[in-house]
Amino acid sequence: MRAHNEIIKLMHKYLDGDLLKEEEVTLRNHLENCEECQSHFHELKRTLTLIQSAENIKAPSNFTENVMKNLPSENKGFKYKRWFKAHPVLTAAAIFFILMFSGVFTQWNQDSELVVSKQENLIIQGDTVIVPEDVTVEGDLLVKNGKLIIKGTIDGDVTIINGELVDEELNGEGLMASVGEVNGELHTVDKMFEWLWYHTKNLFQSIFSLE
């Protein structure tokens, strides 16, 4: 018969699933004949059953929150990046508007020269465009960064951007020397907002008029 210590080693090997076939026979034979080892083996197995019934507990409900609060602060750029990722449509819209307005903006700031749409028979004096009395302008007229004096007739829309329509009366030619005829709409654009509105309107008009 082997020493008890040897047998106890076999018991632990058994509990770890490491017991070889012949060792199993040795252990079984010994246990049949040795009460002391039997109760030792029984106590070991019972101990393991007991500790496995230990209570289950859960972390407090705000545990994750507390951990997140105590983390060192993160890279700032990441917060914006995450927001953009979470709102792709808003991000796309924001980028679109930034690009569009900055485009219109630079146009507004750069063009301070007098611009007149191509029409014949117009007289240009400095920053003033004059439509002579006997002239009929066919089509739309656009004047940018300048004054417009109409003595003749315009068959179309008139648009004045960043400028004004000058009345004849100011020149002291009498009451009857009235403003010439405009057979269309007259627009005067001289504010940033209207300038934007004009552009947007034009944009949509060019999109939707499929000619």
Binding site: K9, D16, K58, P60, F63, T64
Partner: protein, 187 residues
Amino acid sequence: MEQFIREKIKQVKKGDQAAYSEVVNVYQHKIYQHCYRMLGNKHEAEDMAQEAFIRAYVNIDSFDERKKFSTWLYRIATNVTIDRIRKRKPDYYLDAEVKGTDGLDMYSQLSTDDPLPNEEVESLELQRYIHSEISKLPPKYRSIIILRYLEEFSLQEISSILDIPLGTVKTRIHRGREALRKRLRHV
């Protein structure tokens, strides 16, 4: 689940802190429970479980993605709790055992309004008693017994969690079982 965690860890490594909250969510109960079993009281368990998650976050770059994250996390939690046990001051917590009362803590001295049914009290008391006996084991045996029998890791897994050879794990688990047998034989 493995894949999900792997994905989240990648995001955390890139600097996305919010992804880490999902990692904490998945493991919070296991890690908290592990700390509770190691330390024996809820107050310290919460502090140390938090500490373990924070350390894991701070050192996330040293985590090898080819390995299991849970193994790594358990190792940190075990080390944090063992450090804590070593540094322990004689603080008083409500659920720390009251001297000379043999297993009673301050909770048992507070009156409770809703008496539990008898059987439940018995099993709860037994569980607490068993737990306190596990808590009396030296930390190096305690961690292995807890990992093996309460958290059901294989010996091989325990060896990689604690970063010690398999042979050492076996020696310690034998001693731990014998120590517990002596303490619990009369239950």
